[in-house]
């Protein structure tokens, strides 16, 4: 481009305030949180500033070890297991409902924009509003449980977000083994498929990472946990999470619908027609043409929804999560440790674990989204 170098300097100068702000507020603060997580900093009121400083010391991975093994820190593990179950189920609900609604709306129906508006409006609300409203609907003796009585059935009895029931129970010492099996099913097998079918280099990279993670889980984490846990500790899928999934799914399914609908609108009618001419049934058109074309959108949706659910805080908070361990999440635990327990070092350690979980899905996503862009100049 023929524009002058003086103006180029001005351009960089105009961008620099934002870059500096983000460098400090994102990376500087993350660094500071990471350092804090390696200390035993406490901000309890009784301690004077000096005493606090004197007591503060570097304890390495002590906070993290304590979360994984200490009998006193089972609340962290409950939240951690809850997040994983919640994330899986929440993504599944949003994908299935979103895809179904998008396909139905793509059938050239009347009133499409009205339906679209209805399915998307919860996205405009705050998670706090959603939490307050659904907590009222989840009242055990009322709300949703009363709906069956309107058509003559007996009232439901499920306690929703206050339920204490748990299924799929397992002992915490087996957690690394369960995760490694899931890694094989969810990551290793699909990436093998992609490597064989498309010789994808990203898939090879992901496969290498997954195998590395599994080696760590099986050879280091599993035996370590077995020797560190003093007594068995049962975890599992808390049915109370179904309430959170329903509320969050209500709010976010419209988002996946919008993504899928945008994708469907990008598939030309000629392509579908060509497939029909070649003898595809309507179902075959979807299976062979449309679903494969929607696969990248599914991946984007999984990543966007996944990072939302891994850091979820406000919805659980407003559903009364502070008192309900069965729907506790790391985001809640972090906040209560830091601002109610006055133990910011431990809060920082939770935050870093959350950041790592999010980074694992977001960094490859950012990398692959921006990699394909052409460079001007």
């Amino acid at each position: 481009m023929s524009r002058g170098s003086k103006d180029r300097m001005i351009a960089i100068l105009m961008l620099s305030p934002s870059v500096v702000l983000l460098a400090i507020f994102v990376y500087g603060f993350i660094g500071s949180t990471a350092y804090m997580s390696l200390t035993n900093l406490s901000t309890q009121m009784q301690l004077s500033e000096q005493l606090r400083k004197a007591q503060e010391k570097f304890i390495g991975l002590g906070n993290y070890n304590s979360f994984m093994t200490s009998p006193l820190d089972s609340r962290f593990r409950i939240g951690f297991v809850n997040t994983l179950f919640f994330t899986l189920l929440f993504i599944l609900v949003c994908l299935v409902v979103g895809l179904l609604l998008a396909i139905l709306l793509d059938q050239k129906i009347k009133g499409e924009s009205i339906f679209r508006t209805i399915f998307l409006f919860p996205m405009a609300l705050s998670f706090v509003v959603t939490g307050v409203v659904w907590r009222w609907l989840f009242n055990q003796n009322s709300g949703i449980n009363l709906l069956p009585t309107l058509v003559g059935f007996p009232a439901g009895t499920f306690a929703w977000h206050t339920s204490q029931d748990q299924i799929l129970q397992f002992d915490w010492v087996n957690f690394p083994i369960i995760v490694s099996i899931l890694v094989v099913v969810i990551v290793v097998l699909p990436s093998l498929w992609y490597i064989v079918r498309q010789r994808s280099r990203i898939a090879m990279f992901i496969l290498a990472l997954a195998l590395l993670a599994n080696t760590y889980l099986l050879l280091i984490a599993a035996p370590g946990l077995r020797s560190a846990m003093v007594r068995p500790e049962t975890h599992g899928f808390n049915l109370a999470l179904l309430a959170v999934v329903l509320a969050a799914g209500w709010q976010m399914s419209g988002y996946t619908m919008a993504m899928y609908l945008a994708g469907l609108r990008g598939i030309s009618e000629e392509l579908r027609e060509a497939a029909r001419v070649d003898g595809c049934t309507e179902f075959g058109v979807y299976r062979r043409i449309i679903f494969p074309l929607l696969a990248p959108i599914t991946l984007s949706a999984i990543i966007i929804l996944g990072h939302i659910s891994l850091k979820i805080f406000d919805l659980v908070y407003s559903m009364g999560g502070g008192d309900l361990l069965s729907i506790d999440m790391p985001g809640m635990f972090m906040w209560f440790e830091t601002y109610r327990g006055f133990l910011p070092a431990r809060g920082a350690a939770v935050a870093i674990i959350m950041l790592l979980l999010v980074a694992v899905v977001i960094i490859p996503y950012l990398w692959s989204s921006l990699r394909g862009e052409p460079e001007n100049e």
């Binding site: 961008l15 983000l22 139905l104 709300g143 999010v358 950012l366 990398w367 989204s369």
Partner: protein, 293 residues
């Protein structure tokens, strides 16, 4: 919102009454409408419940008759809810306006630089900026509070504005960068030949065509800032935003459900109105969040 739902079955009924209906009916189509209507009712159910509970008097709010229509409609709960939310609504309003405007302006300039003045290293800086919109804010909030305390912005609206501007920069920059990427470089070249520099090109060529970009960004930031909770509850308990006020109100066990529901409705109303009136732009912002939108 809720008034649009009952209108739907009517259109289908009208179709049904057309002559020859039974001969050329497409049952597949009917099934599609049936599923869509069932989902619509399910999506609108909470809205119906909010409105139904809000118009009940305190005496009539009873969990066993939750779905029953009140004998007497009243709007006192809205007045009571407004009294309790007033401060929060005011705080959110004085937060959302500067927060939205500043982050939109900065995003526009950043997007202009990153799309039209590419410099060596821009392709590294941009993803590093974007990462900021995905991080869990828990990972920065402890140092953030310490920082705000040292600069005396803790527990204040300006402090919150600062947070929302900074952490809003990645998404506003992204939306404007993608938007300006569609502007052909030739338009700027022509301006450059006429002697316009960095600011001249922005002012005379880029800014006049930026309106749709600004609408998308402003709607997005408005919704985000209005609905945000973590910063509000951590940084500014003393100056509660509307979501914090709503949570405080519903967290205290003494407030009646009709008032809680009316409060939820009032807190949701501004973003809901924006969505209904400008939904098209809202969706664009939504899809921009998935980077390539």
């Amino acid at each position: 919102m809720s008034s649009s739902a009952p209108a739907l079955p009517k259109t289908i009924a009208a179709e049904g009454r057309a002559p020859g209906f039974l001969n050329n009916v497409r049952w597949g189509q009917l099934l599609i409408y049936a599923v869509l209507i069932i989902f619509s009712l399910a999506f609108l159910l909470p809205v119906y419940m909010v409105l139904l509970t809000s118009i009940k008097s305190t005496a009539e709010v009873d969990i066993s008759s939750m779905w029953e229509f009140p004998r007497q409609i009243q709007f006192d709960s809205f007045r009571l809810a407004f009294d309790q939310l007033k401060i929060g609504l005011g705080n959110s309003l004085s937060l959302v306006i500067p927060g939205t405007v500043i982050s939109a302006v900065l995003g526009s300039i950043n997007g202009y630089v990153l799309s039209k003045w590419k410099f060596p290293g821009a392709n590294i800086i941009f993803p590093l900026m974007l990462f900021g919109m995905f991080i869990p804010y828990q990972a920065i909030i402890i140092p953030l509070v310490q920082f705000l305390r040292t600069v005396s912005l803790y527990n204040s609206i300006p402090g919150l504005v600062l947070c929302h501007v900074v952490y809003g920069l990645p998404i506003t920059t992204l939306i404007f960068r993608n938007y300006y990427s569609e502007v052909p470089d030739e338009m700027l070249e022509a301006g450059a030949i006429d002697g316009a520099g960095f600011f001249g090109l922005y002012w005379w060529i880029v800014l006049p065509i930026s309106l749709p970009g600004f609408v998308v960004v402003i709607i997005w930031q408005f919704t985000q800032i209005w609905n945000e909770f973590l910063f509000g509850v951590t940084i500014a308990q003393g100056t509660p935003t509307v979501t914090v006020a709503l949570q405080n109100l519903s967290g205290s066990q003494i407030v009646q459900w009709n008032v809680q529901m009316a409060a939820a409705f009032l807190a949701a109303l501004p973003t809901l109105l924006v969505y209904i009136l400008l939904g098209r732009y809202f969706i664009r912002g939504l899809l921009a969040g998935s980077i390539k939108g």
